[in-house]
Amino acid sequence: MEEEKKIRVIIAKPGLDGHDRGAKIVARALRDAGMEVIYMGLRNTPEQIVETAIQEDVDVIGLSILSGAHMALVPRVLELLKENGVEDKIVLVGGIIPKVDEEKLKEMGVAEIFGPGTPTDKIVEFIRQRVGEIRKR
């Protein structure tokens, strides 16, 4: 019997802010939607995040940032992914990201940005749809 492959997601908090409430809520919502969530806790470096994404062979990398350092941290993660030849992962960002930066991050390769107040259903649905598209290829 060919089982359907479980969707695997990393939830990480790059940088130094300690506000992990949002990350935890998203992690639980994804688990409740039947996904396997590798929860990395606080203060991850981009290097740790990318290496974890490789070893865990995840479909999605979720980055939660509330420190304001997103324009330094997110591009670094994307760069490291490219350096390691990893191109099939969906990168999502959650947290407080100003509109002007949203556009720039998306241009760099972030699939979507979810700000405060986003219903978790919307995140689940987005992940399912995108992962489905990638797997069909």
Binding site: M1, E3, R28
Partner: protein, 318 residues
């Protein structure tokens, strides 16, 4: 993804490509048909890694202990693969795998590969794919593979079939829980760790374990009890020394060969059982036979045992 792609991936793994290793673990977890092919290609390259199992209650400090033990192995020049297993929610099929939080410093060490797995509804604590993941890490060339499982229920017994040295972690604040675990766990532990040994009641916990050991018959290996404070790295060297002593003990006679024989047998039968069940259930469901028999039982025309016998008789005819 087909069989040719799989051969390419396996060749990459054998060359030391960690991305190929990661992808192959995903495949053995999810794609039974490819898994069979992968495992037959990999098998000749396995048998070099020493497998250590670590189990204990949630919160006993297993992940921190694994992190520190890995650090000690690295200073002794060994490479390490880690499989951290957490339970799958029986209600949603999802899981939160959080063991890596305690191992972040090892994430970027080239000599360490960590993979989180969920139990995915397997009855034992070790998912079936965990055995295959161990083999993949072994073929990848890791000197040691550490398997970490939560010890609640059947898990700690299963680990025995995968590990050469099984470590059971207890803490001084467990109180009477020690009594509760002794039934299954005492038999499987080759080494006991009393972690959080800076708490009160350490000596009482050690004594309780000693007394249990006095009453049990574990042959000529008496499991040592090692006190650790994993968060501070205390007792880790002693733990690794104890592991090496146990390794020497099982390798010194033909114990390890007997272990291999017994495990191979269990493993083969387990695979036969699962393949047979899958095939049977598929046939019964496709033919509508299962539905018919279930309805008979529901309508009290047949009891469940007779129903099972009727299904087994069909097997005999083949």
């Amino acid at each position: 993804m087909d069989e040719d792609d799989v051969s390419v991936l396996v060749a990459s793994l054998l060359r030391g490509d960690r991305r190929a290793l990661a992808r192959l673990i995903t495949l053995v977890e999810n794609r039974p048909r490819l898994r069979d092919r992968i495992m037959s290609l990999i098998y000749p390259y396995t048998g070099n890694a020493y497998v250590i199992g670590i189990t204990g209650s949630p919160g006993s400090g297993k992940s921190t202990l694994v992190d520190k033990l890995t650090g000690e192995l690295r200073t002794r020049g060994k490479t390490v693969g880690i499989i951290a297993i957490d339970p799958t929610s029986p209600f949603t099929g999802g899981a939160i795998l959080g063991d890596r939080i305690r191992m972040l410093s090892k994430s970027t060490d080239e000599g360490v590969f960590i993979r989180s797995m969920s139990t995915r509804g397997s009855l034992g604590g070790l998912s079936r794919a965990a055995y295959d993941a161990i083999a993949l890490l072994d073929a990848f060339g890791k000197d040691f593979v550490i398997v970490e499982t939560v010890g609640t229920g059947q898990a700690e017994v299963d680990i025995v079939d995968a590990a050469y040295t099984s470590i059971v972690v207890v803490t001084p604040d467990m109180g009477d829980e020690i009594q509760a675990i002794k039934a299954g766990i005492l038999e499987i532990a080759d080494i006991f760790v009393v972690n959080k040994a800076d708490l009160e009641n350490v000596e009482a916990t050690v004594m309780a374990l000693q007394m249990m050991l006095d009453l049990s018959d574990k042959g000529d290996w008496r499991p040592p009890i090692i006190k650790t404070v994993a968060t501070k790295g205390v007792g880790i060297k002693e733990l690794l020394d104890a592991i090496e002593r146990h390794r020497a003990y099982i390798c010194e006679t033909d114990r390890i060969e007997k272990m291999h024989y017994k495990r191979s047998k269990v493993r083969i039968l387990e695979i036969v059982r699962s393949k047979l069940m899958d095939k049977l259930i598929r046939e019964l469901e496709n033919s509508g036979e299962l539905d018919r028999i279930v309805k008979c039982v529901v309508e009290k025309k047949m009891d469940p045992y007779s129903a099972a016998d009727e299904i087994l008789r069909k097997l005999d005819k083949k």
